[in-house]
Each structure stands twice: as C-alpha cells, then as structure tokens.
C-alpha cells in the first residue's frame, strides 16, 4: 500500500513535470530572433502591415475615428465565451505602452504569443494568424509602430474567470491549436493567390472571426472561412468560401471593390464589425485587395460554418 501510494505520488509529480514542460511558453527560436533583430525596419512599408493587421480595430480607443485611429491606447472590449478581453495600450509610451520593447520582444508577441515577461498571451490577440508573418514584415511593422503617438492611458485587466484565468493552461491550448501551417490549399496557385493567402491567413487574420470554433476555441477542421456564429452576440459572420450564399455570385472584382468601398454588388453596404475592417482594407493597395479576392475565389467550397 505504501509502495502504491509512493508510486502514485511519483507518477503525479512526473505527470505534473511533463505538463509544466509541455505548457511552458516557447519564444521564437533564437536564430530567427537574431535575423529579425539584424533587419533595418522600414516604417513606411510597415504602415501597410499596420492596416492589413487591423491593429487599430482593437488597440485604438473605442469609437476612434480618423487620426485618432493611430493612437494605440487600447480599451476595446472583445466579448467571448471565455470572458471579456480588453485590448491593451500598445502605443510607444515607455510606461503605459510598449515603448520599452525591443524588436525581439515584438517578434515573440506576434509570432509566438509570448510576452516579454515570458507569459502566454490569450489568442484574443490573433498571434495564431500573425505567426505566419515574415521576418521582414515584423521588423517593418515594429518600425512603423514606433512612429505612432504615445498614450498614457493605462491598460485594463481582462475580465476572465476560472479556469480561463490560468494563463499557463494556454500552453495546452497552443499544443492543440497553434500552428504555422497554411490553413488551406487553394484550388490554384500563382503569386497573386499566394499573396492573398499570406494577407488573409497571416496579418489580415480573417479566419479568427470567419471560421467556426469548437467549444474550447479551436478552429473546426475543414471549415476554413466557412462563416461562424457572431462571437459578440446574435447573427452570423458570413461564409467567405464559394459555398457562401451571397459571395458565390461575386466576382473577384466585386470582392476587391467591396474591400475598397464597402459596397456589395447590389450597393448594399458593409455592416457590423466588418465596417472597421473595411476601413483598414481601404488603406491597402489595389494590388493587395485584388490578391485577397483571388485567394477567396480559389478557396475550397464549404457549407455555412454556423449551421
């Protein structure tokens, strides 16, 4: 009996040890960080990534318009099944924001979801998509963000209850769902579609809302961009694959024009949380909007993800 208890005790300790190892935050490989740190960031090029990445949609103050969308004071609340996440201040302020960060800290946040203090970030911050970004784009975006105005507004804590408030457990979530792999193999492959795939699956993080999730927040397999329940309440986030009711009949030109102007082919307008996303997409080059459209047209057809 004593021996059994001892055995069980040892097994429990071993299990906990393995669990701790597996859930430990893993930063970006040091070789890659060295490559990124050696790059000279181009702030002008980084602005494109800033809009493609939708940074302002969460990190500008709620309701910010025009130039105020460049002040990354945070404060937008994202409601979810796991609690309410409050976007932090990521302005270059050394105290309230990320002014003290190195490009290495930034790369770890964007590519690995790991904070400078070595903790996991919640995937409400879409590093799950940003992890596909290139070294060059990380360096350029960081350079651009350092040019933004500072804000002294203090970040607010997330409103997340037990057990989701145990950040270490996110290591387990990452083991299950965090991947750098492409989300889908497009029907055709050319440089334009590849560019669209990079923008949509990487910085654009379109799938974070347009793909259905399972009860613990991982993407449902084989349903990439198939649409989902609106995580913030009633209604749905539309199906972007050729299986979608409305987008099926849209040409690539229609999709690009929608991203530029906010108008559907019937001259209905963008609505809901996409209003802000479309403002970001309007800042891209027409070449990038056309690439996104080409990629969406090349997606495998899927039934609506919310049904």
């Amino acid at each position: 009996m004593k021996r059994l208890a001892l055995g069980l005790g040892l097994a429990a300790i071993a299990g906990a040890g393995v669990g701790l190892l597996l859930t430990a935050p893993r930063p970006v490989a040091s070789e890659r960080l060295e490559v990124i740190a050696a790059l000279e960031g181009d702030a002008a090029a980084g602005e494109t990534l800033f809009w493609a990445g939708g940074c302002a949609s969460c990190h500008a103050a709620p309701g910010a318009e025009d130039d105020a969308r460049l002040v990354m004071s945070g404060g937008v609340k994202l409601t979810s099944d796991f609690g309410t996440f409050v976007a932090p201040n990521i302005s270059p302020d050394p105290d309230a924001g990320i002014g003290e960060w190195s490009v290495t800290d930034f790369a770890n946040a964007m590519l690995a979801g790991v904070s400078p203090r070595g903790q996991h970030y919640y995937p409400a911050f879409p590093y799950t998509s940003y992890t596909r970004m290139s070294d060059r784009d990380i360096a350029d975006l960081f350079a651009f963000m350092q040019t933004l105005p500072v804000s002294q507004v203090a970040s607010l804590p997330h409103e997340v209850g037990f057990p989701f408030n145990i950040r270490r457990a996110l290591g387990g979530w990452k083991l299950l769902f965090f991947t750098e792999e492409p989300r889908v193999t497009p029907a055709e492959a050319d440089t334009q579609i590849a560019r669209g795939q990079y923008l949509v699956e990487g910085p654009g993080h379109c799938g974070e809302c347009h793909t259905p999730r399972n009860p613990i927040g991982g993407f449902v397999s084989d349903a990439w961009l198939a649409g989902a329940h609106n995580p913030e309440g009633e209604g749905v986030i539309p199906n972007l694959t050729p299986g979608g009711k409305s987008i099926r009949s849209w040409s690539a030109g229609d999709i690009a024009y929608y991203l530029e102007s906010g108008f559907t082919p019937d001259f209905d307008s963008v609505g809901g949380s996409m209003v802000d996303v479309q403002k970001n997409m309007a800042q891209l080059t027409s070449g990038d909007r056309n690439a996104i459209a080409a990629y969406l047209k090349a997606l495998p057809e899927r039934a609506n993800g919310w049904e």
């Binding site: 001259f267 307008s269 209003v275």
Partner: protein, 148 residues
C-alpha cells in the same frame, strides 16, 4: 369532388393573395425601400467609378430617392417587426431607438444637403457621394445584423 375543387380554389386563392399581404408587412416595405437606396446609390457609384457618364438629372433623382427613404423608413420599424421575413434589422433598433433615429436624421440631413447642392458635374457628385454614403455603413455597423 366538389369539396376538393373548392379546396383547391381556396388554396390557389390564398397563394394569390399571400404576396399582397406580405408586401404590406413593415419588414418587407423597409427591405424594398433599402433596395431603392441600393439602386440609387449604384447609379451614382457607376458615375463616380467612370463606368457610366455623369447625368445631372439621374443624379438628382437618385439623391431625392435617398432623401425620401431617409425621411420615411423610420416608421417601418414598429414594435412587433423585430423578426420575420428574413429581416436583418438588429435588436439595437428597438433597444436604442434614439440612437437609431439619430442615424436616420444624420442620413436625412446629408441627403437633403446633397439634393440642395444639385451636383452639376462629376466633381460635384464626388463631393457629396463619399460623405453621404458613409451614413450606410455608419448605421449598418450597429443596427443591421447579418443572419446568413
């Protein structure tokens, strides 16, 4: 046999009447009004994009349509029309009526200003088109809900 014929006639009759009844429902009326806005906006957008030539009369007619809908559509969101007929009206219309009415008032003011400006050339149209159509997404951001 006679009963069956009567029954069939009744069914056909009801089917014939059904669209007439649906067309009076506020959900359907407001959807038709929004389609008119889409048509008018599309006519102007084609000019702005250079896909069709500028036409001052067509522009004024389109702007007038927008003004009329902005003035009239508010009354087609009565209590009890929150659901049905594939409406995409958001519950916020009823929970935040004042906010919704304010969006309609802003739309009406911009549409009236554009009608008063009566654009005489493409530049004139471009000057009013952007600010006016910002009202679409500004309202749809909160008060329209995609359901499919």
């Amino acid at each position: 046999m006679k009963f069956r014929t009567l029954f069939a006639a009744a069914v056909i009759g009801a089917a014939g009447f059904a669209p007439a009844i649906a067309a009076d429902e506020p959900q359907v009326v407001r959807q038709e009004m929004m389609k008119k806005v889409g048509g008018a906006t599309g006519a102007m957008a084609k000019m702005v994009k250079g896909e069709s030539d500028f036409d001052a009369d067509a522009t004024l007619a389109a702007l007038t349509t927008l003004s009329e809908v902005a003035a009239g559509i508010g009354e087609y969101f009565p209590e009890g029309s929150e659901t049905g007929f594939e409406t995409e009206a958001a519950p916020a219309i009823w929970s935040d009526r004042a906010g919704f009415e304010a969006k309609l008032a802003a739309f009406k003011a911009d549409a009236d200003a554009a009608v008063a400006a009566a654009p005489a050339d493409l530049d004139g149209l471009k000057a009013v088109f952007g600010p006016l159509t910002k009202n679409c997404s500004s309202c749809h951001e909160t008060y329209r809900l995609k359901k499919s």
